[in-house]
């Protein structure tokens, strides 16, 4: 068990270093950071929202979008580079099992996305804090109630986003285990992210009564197979306090995310064990 963990961590470390050195990662990180920083100057295009809401939405939108791109493309690229360069053959010839290899890839990619989310969230926090100070001063002068943001909420959101990206990586790895090409994995992985983001429509429909048992069965299956990624998008409620999040709901979201993560990693391991390299 200890040896297995050591081998998995070793693969994770190598994967992490390989990913961090990629220009693609640096490019997306810089692009997302630029998006977060530019939100302050772009707020003139805002109508009817609180200023902090616009800044937060812009920054978190960038984190979501580029994070998803990174999770899909980078994971597929890290996996297929090992297969195409035949390094996977060398690695798997050593006492390293295929599930360990896959888990190592997962943790490596997840760690990179952890860095990505942390850097962006820190930048977002600084931008929000700076603007909040100005708004508080202006509100005090005008005798209004100032808008504020919650640092604790920001930390909770960082964890949720990281978990969401973990679920995406697990799905992409499961697809990679089955797929033959990088392109196929990226396309199907992206579609899976889109389906996950829109899954709540099926979930909402499923919660309403229906007369058709076929429709109900379809909704039941689709709402279980595809993870609901929309439930991680609680930026407004957590960071800006626009609405109250029910007590224990975040833990519940966390558990469901972890459950999907484990389920898709197990599925990926099973498929990968039968794959010819």
């Amino acid at each position: 068990m200890k040896d297995s963990l050591r081998r998995t961590l070793w693969i994770s470390r190598v994967t992490f270093l390989e990913a961090v050195r990629q220009r693609f990662f640096a490019f997306l990180l810089v692009l997302s950071a630029a998006m977060v920083l530019s939100s302050v100057s772009l707020r003139v295009f805002d109508f009817g929202h609180g200023e902090l809401k616009f800044i937060a939405d812009f920054g978190f939108g960038g984190m979501f979008f580029f994070g998803s791109v990174l999770a899909v493309v980078m994971t597929a690229q890290l996996f297929f580079s090992e297969i195409d360069n035949k390094t996977a053959l060398t690695l798997l010839a050593k006492p390293l099992s295929r599930p360990e290899f896959l888990l190592g890839k997962f943790f490596g990619a997840w760690a990179v996305l952890g860095v990505f989310v942390l850097v962006l969230a820190s930048l977002q926090g600084v931008v929000l804090w700076a603007r909040e100070q100005e708004l508080v001063a202006a509100a005090e002068q005008a005798g209004r109630i100032p808008t504020t943001f919650s640092v604790v909420g920001l930390c909770q959101l960082v964890l949720l986003q990281w978990l969401r990206l973990g679920v995406v990586i697990a799905i992409v790895l499961a697809i990679s285990s089955l797929a033959r090409t990088f392109l196929f994995t990226v396309v199907v992985g992206s579609l899976a992210v889109v389906a996950g983001q829109l899954q709540w429509i099926a979930q909402d429909a499923f919660l309403r009564p229906t007369d058709s048992p076929v429709y109900a069965a379809f909704l039941w299956v689709s709402t279980r197979l595809i993870p609901n990624l929309q439930q991680f998008n609680l930026a407004d409620a957590l960071v800006l306090g626009s609405s109250v999040v029910e007590e224990g709901a975040l833990i519940s979201v966390g558990f469901s995310g972890l459950a999907y993560l484990v389920a898709y990693l197990t599925l990926g391991s099973l498929i990968f064990r039968r794959r010819e390299i």
């Binding site: 939405d57 983001q197 979930q203």
Partner: protein
């Protein structure tokens, strides 16, 4: 059987995760802006899906709103309305989108329709009136919908009162909207006066005076200047109603 056991385990894991996700979604759903399939369907093709997908709701809502100006300038009703509704659907808590969508539909679109049919000289007065009412009603519907979602209802109520009075010519309805606006915590100073005037104009003189008097006594009198203009209006009403000295509001110390 043993061969299938791992696959069975994966199936159970995914189903278990799905059940957990369903329960967690029920708990977090009220914290996520209320956009549903019903709101999404008419806005397809306007970029709403991108906003829902990407978490860039505010930004896409703003872009949709800016794009709606282009259609507004072209007097393109379907395009303008679709984009305005998109902005409302993307950020249902923003009062600005609901208020301006309701007012643009209620105030502008009937004029566009009349011009499209050949102009004011060509379209019969009854048809014009019907169009004003029809679009006024549509604008009111948007404002009513916005009142359910938007955080601040007061300005939506004022806009609804304005449309009900000006376009629907329904003074009772208008007075009702202004009354609700006046009774909200962030009511502007003029809401109560307009409400009383409209009710008075609709022939409900005693009710208008009673409500206005109660409002002035409970909410305005204690304010810094005691709202003298409202008291003057009340005195005029008392005179017109021929109220006796004991039925009138007692004379204020600052009253001349």
């Amino acid at each position: 059987m043993r061969r299938f056991a791992p696959w069975l385990l994966v199936g159970v894991l995914i189903l278990g995760a799905g059940a957990l996700a369903e329960s967690s979604w029920r708990r977090v759903r009220p914290s996520i802006p209320e956009i549903g399939r019903k709101e999404l369907e008419p806005t397809l093709g306007q970029g709403v899906l991108l906003g829902v997908l990407g978490g860039l709701r505010t930004v896409v809502a703003d872009i949709a709103w800016i794009r709606s100006y282009v259609f507004w300038e072209r007097r393109d009703r379907p395009g303008c309305e679709a984009l305005m509704r998109s902005a409302c659907a993307l950020d249902p808590h923003a009062r600005y989108f609901w208020e301006n969508t309701g007012l643009r539909i209620g105030l502008d679109m009937a004029h566009w329709e009349i011009r499209r049919r050949g102009g004011y000289a060509k379209v019969p007065a009854e048809t014009q009136e019907r169009l004003f009412r029809q679009y006024g009603r549509q604008g009111l519907d948007v404002l009513e919908e916005g009142m359910v979602y938007a955080r601040s209802r007061t300005s939506l109520l004022l806009a609804a009162g304005f449309l009900a009075e000006g376009k629907l010519k329904d003074l009772r309805l208008a007075a009702d909207y202004y009354r609700q606006a006046a009774e909200s915590p962030d009511a502007p100073w003029y809401a109560a006066r307009i409400c009383a005037d409209i009710d008075w104009g609709a022939g409900r003189k005693v009710e208008a005076y009673g409500w206005y008097r109660n409002y002035w006594e409970t909410r305005l009198r204690s304010k810094q200047d005691g709202f003298p203009e409202d008291l003057i209006r009340l005195r005029i009403m008392e005179t017109e109603l021929r109220l006796g000295i004991l039925q009138r509001i007692p004379r204020q110390v600052w009253e001349r």
